[in-house]
Amino acid sequence: MEPRVERGSFRDPDSRVFYAGGSVHRALSERGLADWEALAETALFRDKVAEGKLVGTEQLPEPNGLPAELDAERVAAVLRHDRVPVVSYPYEWPFGMLRDAALLELELLLAALDENLILKDASPYNVQWRGTRPVFVDVGSFERLREGEPWAGYRQFCTLLLYPLMLQAFKNVPFQPWLRGSLEGIEPAEMRRLLSFRDRFRRGVLTNVVLHAKLEARYADREVKQDLKKAGFRTELIRVNARKLRKLVQRLEWKPGRTAWSTYRTTNPYDEPDAAAKLDFVREAAGARHRRLVWDLGCNDGRFTRVAAMDADYTVAVDADAAVVEALYRELRADGVDTILPLVGNLADPSPGLGWRGEERRPLVARGRPDLTLALALIHHVALTSNVPIRDFLDWLAELQTELVIEFPTRDDPMVQRLLARKGPGANPDYDTETFERALNERWRVERRDTLPSGTRILYRASPSA
């Protein structure tokens, strides 16, 4: 396959990511190379890579195999990085993941300062995940420190990390739609307007939001870097600020209210006998053979995800409810699971292509196709809440060319009845077992079909028919 440039990596001309021969490479300019050489010899680099916090990186002997669109004359060296299993974006993370990403950025910034280096930015897109372990992937962010200059990444830290976290912690407003709405995040002036008078007295707000917004407006067209240097700005100030930010971020907490989902397991009507039969079904389907990538769509508390993940290299667990994904993240992290990636996402409104050319950030499907997909207790929500036609939903799944474990709650199922009752009699006539099975059989080879003990839910295991 031809080497190709990563579309999300054009902003920093000293360091461009491209893919060649199945690995991730980074092309460095002269200046980028000098920065890399400074980083590569530090204890920071060795230690953080060993701890899994910084992506494993080696320099190739020759800068060969460049994609045509990179100017070979400007490439001084090429690095090769370890791959992360599946790329994800901040607008797909629950609160705890964004917070841990922020803390990793600050940890690396402080460690860099000790080595006479600094991070040139603070983008959460530079953080990726191995399950619940964050890993910083942008080695090109490290540069040699220039004494007397403030941290260039501070503003980005605020707009893409601190403010979104504050928004959710202080106002219980989910940050994901904001980050998805703008790849630059929330501007200081916008953030100030979002906060109430009372919020101004919360820790860190007066300086990082109110003062920040005011100074930004006042100094919009003025150059101050040299003046600050002359006034004696020192690296020690960056260190003090980074420590303060760390303390601030550590204290930000999100207490989700009772969402429909986070109480689902305790209140749902079918429960234990069905759940046990479902676990057996999933265990059998997942254990049939080893899978590279599994998707669990509508993962809820992750009970079935964990079973499905046992025979897979990596599993992506997606749910629309950020509260259950937050809970799952905390659980998985506490258990040290690094093969399940929990993400917030709504199937009826999935992550689109975003940014320049709509290619800087890619849809989930473009970041790795699953070879097994679980869709448990999902289709009635997609079909009845979002009104996606059943055939359309199955078409979409079929395009993934994935094996499938799917649960169909019949029209008699209490949950289905509840969803239908809100809509009135005769709603969603295509939602019935016969239509579903006909559509399923047209697209898949059904290998197993079990009715759960409740009698209102049917499980299917199917393979692509082609």
Binding site: R11, A217, D227, L237, K244
Partner: protein
């Protein structure tokens, strides 16, 4: 090589915040920064004497 440019605009306001909020260590820097601005304002010091 190693010019002073950054690919990311650090933002003038964002840089000053960092000089202001750093506790005791910042007081002197912020004071001096604003003193110099003040001198520039009343014309004792030319505004752009700082090219280096």
């Amino acid at each position: 090589m190693g010019g002073l440019f950054a690919y990311l605009d650090p933002g003038s306001g964002s840089m000053i915040v960092q000089a202001v909020v750093g506790g005791v260590a910042a007081v002197a820097v912020a004071g001096k920064f604003y003193w110099r601005r003040f001198l520039g304002f009343i014309g004792i010091r030319r505004k752009n004497d700082s090219s280096s």
